[in-house]
Amino acid sequence: MADKKLIFNLVTPQKQLVTDLPVDMVVLPAFLGEMGILPGHIQTLVQLGMGPLRYKQNGQTEVFAVLGGFAEVVNDTVNVFAEGADLAGQIDEEEEKQRIKALKDSLSKKDADIDFELAELEIKQALTRMKVKKRRF
């Protein structure tokens, strides 16, 4: 089984981040908890929550912060459709902190003409990115 690989795809509406990459394992941040996928997995469709997505390739682990979406496992191919995804290494904590602060500021203003749901979602996303960045795997 050691030589069997999964083909991994990660796409967001904006960009295709990973294309047909042979990997050993993928851990998805499924809505109901993390879900590890190894070669030979049954055909599966999962809804993703916000959280870290990991894949292992030749003993190296790469981590993405995924902001919800779907994943499909078919014939040893993992297709992830994420609302948004950032490579953990590229997340700037300081930037996220500032973004959260700015959003909270605008939320605290009473007469502000903003979409509360959207702002809350953005805060959640920024927090997710920070969490993923801090976590060590």
Partner: protein, 301 residues
């Protein structure tokens, strides 16, 4: 005959127009690269998503009817079962500005054709772009209802615009029970040409050749129906995003081409006027010489 001054003024005017058009061309040229990249980057998502739904179709159609009474949501999106035949939707995507050659005209012409073909039906219209909105507003036909309009989003289309459009489409598709929704837009083919596309976006027209998955081949988490309910809006939005980006790139390409040929024409006009200017000037000089010679001869005799 025109005076020299008139011609010079004319040349000056044309040259400054040419300058403007060249600048506009350069602007579209600079923007188009970005638009093209965004478009190419967005293509895989919509495509892969459609493939996935295709894989799922047997399972979706197997969802028992009573699970989501009174209406089977799934079949609603795949086959036109319960929609009324006299209510349809139409999405028209044009640019905001003119100066794009036939870009808008092509879309509007086939829109008009579509409306004529569907006379007597209630048409719910979703317009993107100023040109399309103004045109449809001017029609003032009783069976047209403009239910969604969005102007000024080009050349800065973002996913939010696609989201808003997608939500509106879904809302009217379900609430008004539209039998189908058609989309008319310009597809980006190459820098030199755009393709007019008219396609049905709802219910989903999927590949006829379904892959050999059997029903319930998929394990789903949470249930298939829950996922499907979330998946459909995502798919529509992703698709709309792709279409908006295609249209944006096509719009820029059309502007570029139109401005290119316009500044070429202006150049030709300037050359022609220059020749005319020289001729008039020469004629004036000849006349003056003649006057002088005649005057001198008159004095001599």
């Amino acid at each position: 005959m025109e005076s020299l001054r008139d011609i010079r003024q004319n040349i000056k005017a044309i040259e400054s127009t040419k300058q403007i058009m060249q600048t506009m061309k350069m602007i579209s040229n600079a923007r188009i690269r970005r638009a093209q990249e965004a478009m190419i980057a967005a293509r895989p998502f919509a495509q892969k998503m459609l493939e996935m739904v295709d894989d799922l179709r047997p399972d979706i159609l197997a969802i028992p009817q009573e699970e989501n009474a009174p209406e089977n949501m799934a079949s609603r999106f795949f086959a036109n079962l319960s929609g009324q035949k006299d209510k349809i939707g139409l999405v028209v995507i044009t640019g905001d500005k003119g100066l794009t050659g036939s870009f808008n005209a092509v879309v509007l012409r086939s829109t008009l054709q579509f409306i004529k073909q569907n006379e007597g039906k209630e048409i719910f219209i979703f317009t993107i772009g100023k040109k399309g909105r103004d045109f449809l507003n001017r029609l003032r036909m009783k069976n047209l209802h403009i239910v969604y309009e969005s102007v000024g989003i080009f050349p800065k289309v973002s996913y939010v615009h696609a989201e808003l459009l997608g939500e509106a489409l879904l809302k009217y598709f379900l609430e008004e029970n539209l039998s189908d929704i058609t989309l008319i837009y310009n597809d980006f083919k190459s820098l030199a040409s755009q393709n007019l596309v008219q396609e049905q976006i709802l219910p989903f027209a999927l590949n006829k050749e379904t892959k050999s998955f059997k029903e319930h081949d998929f394990e789903c988490e949470p249930g298939l129906f829950e996922i499907f309910e979330l998946l459909v809006p995502r798919l529509i939005k992703a698709n709309m995003y792709r279409v908006l980006l295609e249209s944006q790139a096509a719009n820029l390409a059309a502007t570029m081409n139109a401005m290119d040929s316009a500044s070429k024409n202006a150049g030709e006009l300037v050359t022609a006027l220059g020749v005319k200017l020289n001729k008039v000037r020469q004629a004036n000089i000849t006349n003056e010489i003649l006057d002088i010679v005649n005057g001198a001869e008159a004095l001599n005799s």
